[in-house]
Subunit: 181 residues, 2 copies
């Protein structure tokens, strides 16, 4: 299973790709899409759309994971983030990739073991878990952490399907690792 | 000039297409994309993306117009609306359509003559301006009103370009009918 993690933002969108082979996690690639700020909104969203599509084409992931965002106290920022997130999800859905969403709490708990870990701890743990030679940037680390989180939650979905507790056709009803509906 | 107006929403996205021939406005088509609510978010955004792309393909507009949204008092709703809006803009930008944005005040002022007009007045005026036999639905009317607003603002852009006050290459800097930057 190859997982593409995305950390969407209108200025910077992080991405990280990992391979999961049984209990093993292997780093594939990561980086940041830096969105030009001097363009109209539609152009900026298209940069996110096009770049994620290109990442999907070149890395060929089997599934994708996104962090569920906290709504910002500033409504205008929330709207901008929502639009960036919409563009990222469109790129993934348009590439026919399943999109799984996890809360920041789930991601941090899954990577650091503490849902309230600081950004630096997430970066350090991502470096450790993937055996990287250097500390990844904050954007890359968040995206990679999201992919790692999906790797940890995935067996639950599979187990539920294997034991017949969850019909295979209802996989999409398991979101954020919890059975909904 | 054929204008596609979009009124984005995660449950219902309105669209309206008009032709502008000098001072004449001609109705082409309109409708509502009803987004299924029982799908995960990525699937719902893809419904908006796919449907708008299809509308662009079948109606072949030369330009598009969207209402600038007011941020909702409920941050979660603002985030959802932002994501729907992001999907709509992606579909337009992905079809290489220029996207123009207008505030609700500009749209209402341009269609009804009063920036604080009620929804029903907008519907009535859209019916009147386009010579429709019936009152359009609220979603269609809002999308058509946005297209009509662009038709009214467009000559300003053109005039600025014609008189050299605005370089042709900087058309995108005229947003919402006002010269920015």
């Amino acid at each position: 299973m190859r997982i593409l993690g995305i950390d969407p933002g209108l200025r910077r969108t992080g991405f990280g790709v990992i391979d999961v082979d049984g209990p093993r996690l292997r780093y594939v690639s990561s980086g940041t899409i830096v969105v030009p700020t001097d363009q109209p909104l539609a152009g900026r969203l298209k940069v996110i759309l096009d770049n994620i599509r290109e990442i999907v084409q070149t890395t060929n992931p089997t599934v994708s994971a996104l962090e569920k965002v906290f709504v910002n106290t500033n409504p205008a920022s929330t709207l901008l983030l929502g639009q960036a997130r919409g563009a990222a999800m469109c790129a993934l859905a348009d590439s026919l990739l399943e999109v799984h969403e996890y809360t920041a709490l789930q991601v941090k708990k899954s990577v650091v073991g503490n849902g309230h870990a600081a950004k630096e701890q997430v970066q350090k743990m991502v470096q450790h878990l993937l055996g990287l030679s250097g500390v990844p940037t904050a954007d890359s680390a968040d995206a990679l952490a999201c992919a790692i989180c999906h790797a940890h939650f995935h067996p639950l979905t599979q187990r539920l399907k294997d034991t017949g507790q969850l019909p295979a056709s209802q996989a999409s009803r398991v979101r954020g690792g919890r059975l909904v509906g």
